[in-house]
Amino acid sequence: MDTILKINQVTKKFGGIVAIDDLDMEIKKGQICGLIGPNGAGKTTIMNVITGVYQVDHGNIEFVGEDITGLPSHVICEKGIGRTFQNIRLLNSQTVFDNVRLGAHINMDISLLDVLLNTGKNKRVAADLRTEIEEVLDFIGLLSIKDELVRNIPYGQKKVLELGRVMMAKPKLLLLDEPAAGLNNEESKRLAELIRKINEEGISMLLIEHEMDFVEGLAGKTYVVNYGKKIAEGTFAEVTSDPVVISAYLGTRREEKHA
């Protein structure tokens, strides 16, 4: 399998705090890669570094063999890395439909003049886009509420909508930041199903999640981080039986500490 994303010795500091410490990571093409760790371990920071929200202090990031370190976020998105957010970041005053439409932004090849004159090209693109958006909405199961304002739809649907929006960008790599957080069992199951379907279309993923069942069911390789350091990697079963990981999550027994 080819590597789609490679993180080489990346370090990110905020003042005196080392948020990511000399991290190496690799995601294979077509793989769902899990990323777990206790709160504040630096998981979201890793995503922010990959997507160019933060600049790294040391190291570099390669995406399909190309160095993307230091590129602006919108360029990284154009290259094919899409992401969802831990705290939903949708356009609340816009409709469900328009939120998905924003995802197609990078694939839009229309000039301002085309828009103002409403040229044939503009009409054609708009019509194609409409069908495409409706397909995506159908796929994520939100077609029936496409004209609702996002601020009026329930939390669970917002989570799914973020997934639909990023799908419109046709990414090669999808970074999912706690997609199942706050969802009930039923919703979470449906979301896992959706993620698996997206993955079957050949989209690689990096999945951050606290819900262990969720990660177990989806992730191939799993990385565990704590205090910005990678403490384990391997299959989900391997890492969860690793004593270092268990101690990071649950702490160590008093006797063991003193022993």
Partner: protein, 308 residues
């Protein structure tokens, strides 16, 4: 079912406004009232420019009077000192203003909210003071006059009508396009916009450029309407008036912007009969309007026309 007049206007509120404006010269209003309508249309262009910048993109500018001044004075200077034909000046002035708009747009990369507002106020003041002191070119405090105008009264009215109509349609199309959506994404969440692939800086600049172009065009029309330019016409209270108009118009509605520009421009004149009380009542009306904005706004008006 009986067809009502409002049925014909379903979703076509915009045509009603422009229809009324189109028949005005035929009715033959007294010249002062007519002039106020013209000024309203000229203001409508600035308000549309603010709809794009503030309503869509969320960048608040209190320096738009400065941009209008750039458009007006460059028209005047091109016609007199450079001796260009008015039609050429009409085309170049808004383009020139758009370039100035780029400069005004740069601070928006790093500054948000009140900090950006302060910069735009400063911009407006810089333009006004430059105009005031460049006596050789602009006439400074004595003003500038004697430049040729494009059209006579009625022709000018229809010319402006066409421009405002086109600008309203353009703003509408922009709003529905992916460009408008990118603007709105910047307004609501810059980080999310950037991560969805929107080049935030590029689109902010684009918004400033389109906005400045319209403001510059409005400046040219101002120069044509008054036949006389004075720095006092472009003081910061004018920028505040534009802001008032865009807020009353509903911020994101181009039709609302036109309607609001016409009404708010005419209102102080309609209240002339109140004499000393005029400005107090004017303020009170605006105050009451903003208080009940949730109930009476352009959207509810449009719905009224759509429902029946």
């Amino acid at each position: 079912m009986k067809t009502k007049i409002t049925d014909l206007l379903k979703g076509k509120f915009i045509y009603l406004i422009f229809g009324v404006l189109a028949v005005l010269p035929i009715i033959g209003l007294p010249s002062y009232q007519f002039y106020m309508i013209e000024r309203g249309m000229q203001n409508a262009l600035v308000v549309l420019s603010l709809v794009i910048l503030l309503g869509y993109t969320g960048q608040l500018s209190l320096g738009h009077a400065g941009l209008v001044a750039v458009g007006a004075y460059s028209y005047g200077i091109m016609c007199t000192i450079l001796g260009l034909p008015p039609v050429v000046a009409l085309i170049i002035s808004p383009v020139l203003t758009a370039i100035v708009g780029v400069i005004l747009g740069f601070p928006s990369f790093k500054l948000k909210g009140p900090f950006l507002v302060v910069i735009t106020i400063a911009f407006g003041e810089i333009v006004r003071i430059l105009v005031l002191n460049a006596v050789d070119i602009t006439g400074g405090p004595y003003g500038m006059k004697g430049y040729p105008v494009l059209f006579s009264d009625t022709a000018m009215h229809y010319f402006m009508l066409i421009l405002v109509f086109l600008a309203t349609f353009g703003a509408n199309r922009l709003s529905n396009s992916y460009i408008g959506l990118a603007f709105k994404a910047i307004r609501e969440d810059e980080v999310a916009a950037e991560l969805m692939g929107v080049n935030v800086r590029k689109f902010k600049l684009l918004s400033f450029v389109i906005s400045a172009f319209l403001a510059g065009l409005s400046g040219v029309l101002f120069a044509n309407l008054t036949g006389y330019l004075n720095p006092d016409s472009f003081a910061s209270d004018t920028s505040a008036a534009y802001l008032l108009m865009v807020v009353i118009g509903g911020m994101t509605s181009p039709v609302g912007a036109v309607l609001s520009a016409l009404l708010v421009t005419a209102l102080p004149e309609l209240l002339r009969f109140l004499q000393d009380w005029r400005m107090i009542i004017y303020g009170l009306i605006l105050f009451i309007y903003v208080r009940f904005y949730q109930v009476i706004n352009i959207e509810s008006l449009k719905k009224l026309f759509k429902r029946r």
